[in-house]
Symmetry: C2
Subunit: 356 residues, 2 copies
């Protein structure tokens, strides 16, 4: 096992120009700067925060000292004093799911240049853990929280929101300190199935999400409505419950085959399970979209690079992250929160085709 390249270690020369000429290795404090510049701490603070006018000579001296000492204010001290940590908490459910990561990217961009940093914790789709993580964030005195999905009740969210403002996705909330962004899952699913119906499909299987998940329930409703509207009888045999993961999509697909269902199209409640379904199809030698059409839901970044590229319902994940962040910052700073996220939309790629 080769892990460390130990050779060449001696080549790395450690020199510490900054620390070398410093009397004390510890990071310098505002007090040190004040002393060095021959002014009072308040003056330094004022310059740092632009709180008041300061004479130019003193300002120069302070700036010089700051630069020389490589000083940066201790944010914990600042936070303690100001009652603002300049940190927001993000609760995701799965740190390594492309679904959350895309939203996180929006959050990251939304935070850019604001001076806020974020601490990200994971609730792992568990209401208990979620609440625990939020308590942890609260103890860390985050200035606000962004909650992405989750299993906590709205009431619990509302309760926490009395301590710090919370913006959540997947919830319809709107109070003084709690705001929710909810996508119209029913509509999205309707769009997907409607697309299939328009292509002439009538036997459309559905790989659902977990039945205790609100989004999943809504998507099922959209599937049902599209069918009903087209006068197609709902066949419960065509509906298989999955859990949003690849493996479950594959399993669901196999179940469909094992029970000898007839269908020409499959709607998966999310892209990940569509990937799994795709693999099951591949294994059976069934071509997509020639033999069977497939539609997903989410439009994960990877979905334009599946083979073939996946037709799906696009969730504006990035925008959701960005707008949620923007809104939270607005609430924190007492501004007005405007902002709406774009609606779900059908992205037709190459996994669907007219039934022959």
């Amino acid at each position: 096992m080769v892990t460390f390249r130990r050779k060449g270690f001696h080549n790395i020369i450690i020199k510490e120009p900054v620390l070398a000429d410093l009397p004390h290795p510890g990071p310098s404090t505002l007090m040190d700067v004040a002393r060095e510049a021959g002014v009072s701490p308040s003056t330094v603070s004022r310059i740092l925060n632009g709180t008041a006018r300061v004479s130019d000579d003193k300002r120069q001296a302070v700036l010089a000292a700051i630069a020389e000492m490589n000083f940066a204010p201790n944010q914990m001290a600042q936070g303690l004093k100001k009652g603002r940590s300049m940190t927001i908490g993000i609760v995701v459910q799965d740190i390594s799911s492309p679904f959350f990561d895309e939203t996180l990217r929006g959050v990251d961009d939304g935070l850019k240049g604001t001076g806020y940093a974020s601490v990200i914790v994971s609730g792992h789709w568990n209401a208990e853990e979620e609440a625990d993580r939020i308590r942890l964030l609260l103890a860390r005195k985050v200035d606000g929280i962004i909650l992405l999905s989750g299993r906590m009740s709205d009431q619990t969210v509302l309760n926490f929101s009395t301590q710090r403002p919370i913006v959540s996705t997947g919830r319809a909330l709107r109070t003084r300190s709690a705001l929710g962004f909810k996508m119209d899952n029913e509509h999205g699913a309707y769009l997907a199935v409607h697309h299939l119906i328009e292509l002439g499909h009538r036997r459309i299987a559905f790989i659902s999400g977990p039945s205790n998940n609100i989004d999943a329930i809504e998507r099922l409703a959209g599937y049902t409505r599209a069918l009903a509207e087209a006068g197609i009888a709902l066949d419960p045999q065509l509906i298989v419950e999955g859990n949003y993961h690849e493996a479950s999509g594959m399993l669901a697909m196999n179940r469909l085959f094992d029970t000898h269902q007839q269908f020409t199209a499959v709607f998966a409640a999310n892209d990940l399970s569509a990937y799994g379904a795709r693999l099951a199809l591949y294994r059976k030698g069934i071509r997509v979209p020639d033999d069977i059409s497939l539609v997903g839901f989410d439009d994960l970044p990877g979905s334009s690079y599946t083979t073939p590229p996946l037709t799906t319902i696009r969730q504006p994940l990035y925008d959701i992250g960005r707008i949620a962040t923007h809104s939270l910052l607005c609430i924190i700073n007492g501004g007005e929160t405007r902002g709406e996220v774009p609606p779900l939309e059908l992205i037709v790629r190459e996994t669907t085709r007219r039934v022959r």
Copy 2:
């Protein structure tokens, strides 16, 4: 549940600083608890930290007060006092890349139950920004830093490590306060190409990573060595530079076709660009692995669900995150840092086959 109303969004205006004037008495302090329990603040602190023995009756009273008031110590105050923030900083390069996310999951698990939280920032593959982010983390008084990849020089990392311990991936470092985990990219690439050669391939194209990236250079070296070892002449025409993203893999593949190269296999420097290459192949109607074999590098979580599942070199991303975290915590707490990361290994799936 409150119904979400899209219309009228713009009507709702929040103007008061929510954070400033919370409805109910702000979060309770240790002082409040002390008063409530009729003891001194020090006693409460002692119970909280198990710093000293406290009589049972007082302990009960304090515990009761804590529970009743729903008290949790202010971590910023604690941190300021103790000089430990119980926070570590993580520098990734791209918050929404499956590559980093998998490592992040390891970090997350490594932190579990330690009381540490992490603030994650992104360097966006830019040395300047990376250094900026690290300065930001330092100002926030993180107790240590995990640096994932990046473009900063080792020397810069070493300099920063005088302020706080740093463990980094992709670097060969080992000082008192800096530790690096480096994978043997050359060997990994060798494994991939060797596998192809064993299957009878002799014309093997290579979609490389960016030429200024150390990992990419090493992988190219592995490709070269495997070829040389098999007595296959290196054909520069068969090497196309990519940038590790899907699109570049697709472009690279197309370049190969446009210049009419002959080859039976492709080795992509990472899974993402393999995905892109796969799509280009699909578009041309070229079958994988029947017509052309394809090997990636990384073994991202999605690679077992591509069509067909991707043969690749597995990087122990999760373990790297977990071990890096563990090591950092060890350094922080002055323990010894042991722990080695599993080696790269070839994962043969379904995109490679014997040349006919």
